[in-house]
Amino acid sequence: MDESATDLALKTDELELSRESQTERLLLLIGGGFIAINFSALMLLRSSNNLIEWLPLLIWIGCAIGGHLLLHRYLANRDPLIFPLVMFLSGWGLVIIDRLAPRFADRQAIWLIVSVIMMFLTAEFPYLMRWLKRYRYTLLIGGLILLISTILFGTNPTGQETAPQLWLGFGGLFFQPSEALKVILVAFLASYLAEQYPLLRAEHLRDHRHLPLSPRIIGPMILMWLLAVIIAVWQRDLGTAVVFFMVFIILLYVASGYLWILVSGGFLTVLAAFAAYYLFSVVRLRIDIWINPWIEAEGRAYQIVQSLMAFAAGGIFGQGVGQGNPTFIPVVHSDFVFAALAEEWGLFGIIAMIFCFMLLIVRGFRVSALHQDRPFYALFAIGLSALLAIQSLLIMGGVLKLVPLTGVTLPYISYGGSSLLISFIIAGLLLRLSCGERS
């Protein structure tokens, strides 16, 4: 009796399925198939019969089904690609982490549960957008307090004194506040620029000459940017500083439409790189081994050289999961996950992965295009997608030695709880924005 009732419920559910949910379900199914096959191959290779080792896969499946059902119920007209893409990338990440550092996989899987729940709450939280817009200065001050507390009480999970102290720890849990600061900064910039948007547009329409922005518009932003960059450089977290700066430039460009902002932004980046080259030994090392890693292949450039070797070993179709040797790369599971992926899934795999990232970011821009009459929403969506885009480009380029290496994580894939959590919150915000206004 009960069975037939649930059967009926399922059937009506199927009938009522919107096209969005159908697409989402199909994509999750295919992505899940890929992850399950690779996970099974990994388990077969380890020839383990211990059920507990299958836990990450089970958790992933649970998160995918739970997340999908919740979104299906509460966010009917969401973008159907964002959630499956994000789940696919994070599931792939889970497989790679389990393969590279099995003891971290369970931890990452638990972070995945937290992240999916937080993503859903972000997407469903009432009046969230209005609050973000209205209380931007409170938000910014909160973020800066978080950052200052990192400088004062920051630790490193490995416990080394020389490593960058970027984490806040409480009772065995570590969180990286700079990750949260990224989203806070984007919300602040978007809200601020949205307020100035009519002014910027009017200036543009009135005189078609490319005037520099008035200090009233640009002053507070430069100050705030300087603050963020100084703190980031002070913490020796170069990757975050670069991401901050580039997102700032892109948002300012999108809001104002002045091409010279992009040009001067590029110029300033090169200038900052030169200055940092002479000021910081870390930067000098990074740039030296970027220009020529081979003279120190056994020394300071060991990591990047091993990463290049991994790419070469991967070839077109890769070695297969668990059958390559990406563990030659030091700390491969966090920053160099991309190299491991290249070795075990080859060119084919990384093209598919980059395609997924690209699509995710394009969907973000599409969300932004939906809100042409609401500058805050449009700029916020642009900023969030730019955040994902720049961060993934920086680390993929760094691992491939296309650009100097900056220590940022690959969103969704790298090991790291705070990175995963914030990336899922970004997905949640994009999902919310893709639904349009509901206040």
């Binding site: 295919i30 890929f34 096959i37 690779n38 099974s40 191959a41 159907p80 690609l81 297969g320 699509l359």
Partner: protein
């Protein structure tokens, strides 16, 4: 069966699924693109016309101008409007005609001199039908809907 063969099979399978995923994603964005394009073309199609008349000594006279009625038609003095009026009586963004759920709505965009419907000034969005007269300044637009 040999472990190596099973592993190879799984590798091939995983590559095929990855390919399938990419193809399905491409198909989804293609479908999306098609849907958006058809939506855009539908929104550009005229659904009727606005026939311009002018008040001369108490009588309405056809000026000969006919504008297409689009699902989003804006009227005003600014060149960004769908219908631009060269009349100092009109505000730069004067009125807006939109199609929502199969109905046509007229709203005044807080213009200085207001918009009238059949001679009555409107304060909030109203539904308009065939034969209605929209008044802006000395100009009248007769709504001519396609049925």
């Amino acid at each position: 069966m040999d472990l190596a063969i099973i592993l190879f099979g799984l590798r091939v399978l995983s590559a095929l699924i990855l390919l399938l995923l990419v193809l399905v994603l491409i198909w989804v964005i293609w479908r999306d693109y098609r849907a958006t394009m058809s939506q855009i073309t539908a929104s550009r199609r005229a659904h009727g016309s606005l026939i311009v008349m002018q008040e001369i000594e108490g009588a309405y006279v056809l000026t000969g101008d006919i504008y297409p009625l689009l699902p989003l038609t804006s009227i005003g003095r600014s060149p960004t409007n769908t219908i631009r009026i060269e009349d100092t009586f009109a505000s730069s963004e004067h009125a807006l005609i939109t199609r929502r759920n199969g109905q046509w709505w007229l709203e005044d965009r807080r213009s200085r001199n207001g918009t009238t419907l059949n001679g009555i000034a409107i304060t909030k969005p109203v539904v308009i039908t065939n034969g209605d007269m929209i008044g802006i300044g000395h100009i009248r637009y007769r709504v001519n809907l396609e049925t």
